[in-house]
Amino acid sequence: MALNTSVLNEQEVATAKARFEALLDTLDTVLFGQRPLIELVVIGVVARGHILLEGLPGLGKTELVKGLARALALDARRVQFTPDLLPGDITGNPVLQEVDGRRAFVFQRGPIFANILLADEINRASPKTQSALLEAMQERRVTAGGDTHALPEPFFVLATQNPIELEGTYPLPEAQLDRFLFKIEVSRNSPEVLKRIVQAREIGVEPAVSAVMGASEFRELLGLARRVHVPESVAGYIARLVHATHPGESAAAAGVRYGASPRAALALAAASKARGLRHGRPHASFEDVQAVARPVLAHRILLDHGARLDGVTPAQVVDRLLEEVTVQTTPLPASLAAAKIR
């Protein structure tokens, strides 16, 4: 699809912002005290990206995804990934059926044929099954028995994985990790939030979530996000940031074995555009890039053994990159420093 570069008008921007706000407010009633997480998830979805949520069990990851599907009035399926799960169990299988008096194989669509696929504990499935998602996530289509089947539009994979009990799991390969727009770490709740959960929720009862917009309105929102302008200086900043993730290209990249791919740059731009729209702007900014850099880049940076032994994490590398790479192309001379702005 060609890039639509027409400038957003004020009305479109205001509409998009209002829809964002409505969606965020609704999801706030599903997951308490996790506004930054909710914002990232919504931004990732509006940027047409797949999201990997990583966190301990019981933090509301699945609940958030289900709430999102209901709020957007989209078709959502959930697949619990297990080691014995086969690719056909997700994509679908050809089934021998009698059609017009003759026996023939008819493709039986799997759970992937939905707008939102909730891949719960994705790292528990075998690599063969995980790889079945590759084509679907990147090209939004499924090939089975020589036939290609397009997935519904929009299509998102919202996967979760558990960072503990890793015995018998299959860590996602780099190629598959790269297909996720965001990898978001879900943190535990504070006592105040827990108290609120205890008072407002009950085990076994899902929160009531009403749809805030229809599928067409959501598709319109996706279209608006694609039309957000990325200024040349911001595009240059994204490029320099991604380039600096590679070994030898920056001081922050010391200990990095492999840096981020060009897909990471595209992901940064798309997420920045969505965030710009969420803040009522027809353009992306440096602040947008910096806000989404960590969930976009951290899982795309591969550290070497030395850095891992030193306890360095990819998130720390990204933080250092943000400090090192300046928004302007030319660094400030040593005889000048940024003044504190009151």
């Binding site: 400038v7 302008h229 200024p231 040349e232 200086s233 911001v234 900043y237 710009g276 803040h279 702007r281 027809p282 353009h283 992306a284 900014s285 440096f286 602040e287 947008d288 928004v327 302007q328 192309t329 030319t330 660094p331 400030l332 001379p333 040593a334 005889s335 000048l336 420093a337 940024a338 003044a339 702005i341 009151r342």
Partner: protein, 459 residues
């Protein structure tokens, strides 16, 4: 889109920011270069002051200015890659002000220009190191200009440039003579030109033997000419004395004698190396015959005599110790008698009062009064330097000409005593001094062979 003033406001802010950043970067690169230029300027200035305080200032200033301009240009060339562009400045400004890339979006025509606002300070100067370089350059340049020169250097220069004393004295005489308007200006100028010719020689040639001889001779000739002028003027004045008596008392014969004596003085005044001034000669010429003398009244004769006598005294006073010329003449009261008393300008020791040449008492020309002055006399290991850059020592190669008791100089000083030297009583076999360093080793210790010999001896 917002109005043009908003655009102008932000564009001006962006340009201002870019200018400030680029200026800071340029200063960073230029400061060490300016320090180098300042150092060179300071050192060269000091060297110039030592070498020649009067010349080369324009060249120095031109070179320093060119050096500073070259340093500024080199700094621009070196800093050019780090200069902020307008995009950089805009990016920095919008990021620091939290404008969410509104300026970039407005430049691209995507969003309106933000409202003009009072801009806070986004940059802070850290120019300590650059100021240090510049202050260092300034201090070195000022040091080169203000640091006092060593006294010895000035003395050398002055001494090297000084004229020979005889020449300076001659010029002073001629200047005084010209001021008193006694002699014909052309004749005075003739002598002055000869003096200038000697004075224009280089310092190296000025003190050569021939130049010193020439200066001494010119001095003697000038003194002789001035003295001759004064004597003739006084002779003329003395010749006019009889005319002051009443007209009837002077006979024809006496008048003729006066005219003859006056004529002789007039010839001397006209034909000498220094002739008297024209108006004086005219007056004397008119009166130097019987008719002219008769026409003079006693009062006119008295006035003319006084005028001539005064001129004669003034001329003599130029080279003498007495009168108004004493300040410019030599301070030696006998100089008038000695100068020119011997052939070749030599001095006459023990002169006769009449000032006639004293062949027996003549000594050769030369002496300490000719050169730039006395070399500092000191009985030290180091040779003395009279200021010509050549060390001089007092020596007597031909001892046959050295007389006992000849006094070369006197200096107050102290003996260099060795305080460590023992001066106690000495007895045979006793060690009066522990010695220094390894001395004690060979004093106290004996070799095994020596010890064996001693044992054998005292057994």
């Amino acid at each position: 889109m917002r109005s043009a003033p908003a655009k102008l406001h932000w564009e001006a802010a962006i340009r201002s920011l870019r200018l400030r950043v680029n200026l800071a970067l340029w200063l960073e690169h230029a400061a060490p270069l300016f320090f180098a230029v300042g150092s060179l300027a300071g050192f060269s200035l000091y060297a110039m002051r030592r070498a020649s305080p009067e010349t080369g200032w324009i060249w120095w200033a031109t070179a320093v200015t060119a050096g500073a301009l070259a340093a500024a240009g080199l700094a621009i060339w070196r800093a050019r890659r780090g200069f902020f562009t307008l995009v950089d400045a805009r990016t920095w400004l919008e990021h620091r002000l939290g404008l969410d890339s509104a300026l970039s979006a407005a430049t691209a025509g995507v969003a309106p220009w933000p409202s003009p606002q009072t801009l806070p300070k986004t940059l802070r100067w850290k120019i300590g190191p650059a100021c240090g370089w510049l202050a260092g350059a300034l201090v070195l340049a000022l040091a080169g200009a203000l640091l006092p020169l060593p006294q010895r250097v000035q003395s050398d220069y002055e001494r090297a440039d000084a004229k020979a004393p005889a020449l300076a004295e001659t010029e002073a005489w001629l200047e005084a003579l010209a001021q008193r308007e006694i002699a014909r200006p052309e004749d005075v100028e003739n002598f002055a030109e000869q003096a200038r010719g000697l004075g224009e020689r280089t310092p190296e040639e000025r003190y050569s033997h021939s130049a010193l001889e020439a200066a001494d001779t010119l001095r003697a000739q000038t003194a002789q000419a001035i003295r001759s002028l004064g004597a003739n003027l006084e002779n003329a004045a003395a010749a006019l004395s009889p005319l002051e008596r009443p007209a009837g008392e002077l006979g024809e014969e006496e008048l003729g004698a006066v005219a003859a004596r006056l004529g002789e003085a007039l010839r001397g005044l006209q034909e000498g190396p220094l002739a008297a001034r024209e108006d004086l000669l005219e007056k004397l010429g008119a009166a130097a015959n019987a008719a002219g003398l008769r026409s003079l009244s006693p009062e006119q004769a008295r006035q003319l005599r006084q005028q001539l006598a005064q001129a004669g005294r003034a001329a003599t006073g130029v080279v003498g110790a007495e009168g108004q010329g004493a300040s410019v003449a030599t301070a030696d009261p006998d100089a008038r008698l000695r100068v020119g008393a011997c052939p070749g300008g030599g001095a006459c020791v023990g002169t006769r009062p009449d000032g006639q040449p004293c062949e027996a008492g003549c000594v050769a020309s030369g002496g300490v009064s000719r050169g730039p002055g006395h070399a500092p006399l000191a009985f030290r290991d180091e040779a003395s330097d009279a200021g010509r850059g050549v060390t001089e020592t007092v020596s007597a190669d031909d001892l046959s000409r050295a007389a006992l008791g000849e006094l070369l100089g006197v200096e107050r000083g102290e003996h260099e005593l060795d305080a460590k030297q023992s001066d106690g009583p000495m007895a045979a076999g006793a060690i009066t001094s522990a010695g220094q360093g390894g001395d004690v080793v060979w004093v106290d210790r004996l070799t095994p062979q020596e010890r064996a010999a001693l044992k054998e001896f005292f057994k």
